[in-house]
Symmetry: C2
Subunit: 79 residues, 2 copies
């Protein structure tokens, strides 16, 4: 089972991407976790460490995929 | 059934993203088509029309998601 962490921050681009990507993932192959960095601010450091530069982003087995562009991680940090 | 068109151009970023994203898609929910714009150059106009700016990109039900950045569509046009 692979792991996928979907990082977002509540922005419209994030929400739209989340709905589409998570809906189409095969739950038998990948277990998605959703992290809202605006609400779970303690996870911002984790996101930064793994290489997330902007949201929305999905980290699959440790590899970051930035999907379109909602906001930079720097903006998320500023709240 | 939704449709997903994965546009790429053979770049390493494209190939890597293709393997991960297509592997995890639920084939019961979405039918992916893979278009290599370097080989299927007649499809470049389709990609441009739907809003693809760079590859790799996946177009799900007409909405474009740019995944990371391999090459611009302008570069793909130049061959």
């Amino acid at each position: 089972m692979s792991t996928a962490v979907f990082y977002h921050a509540g922005c419209p681009v994030c929400v739209e991407a989340e709905q589409v990507f998570l809906n189409f993932l095969d739950e038998k192959k990948v277990q998605p976790e959703i992290v809202h960095l605006g609400e779970q601010r303690s996870k911002i450091a984790d996101a930064e460490k793994v290489g997330v530069k902007s949201v929305p982003a999905i980290v699959v087995d440790g590899v970051v995929y930035h999907i379109n562009y909602g906001a930079s991680l720097e903006d998320v940090k500023k709240g």
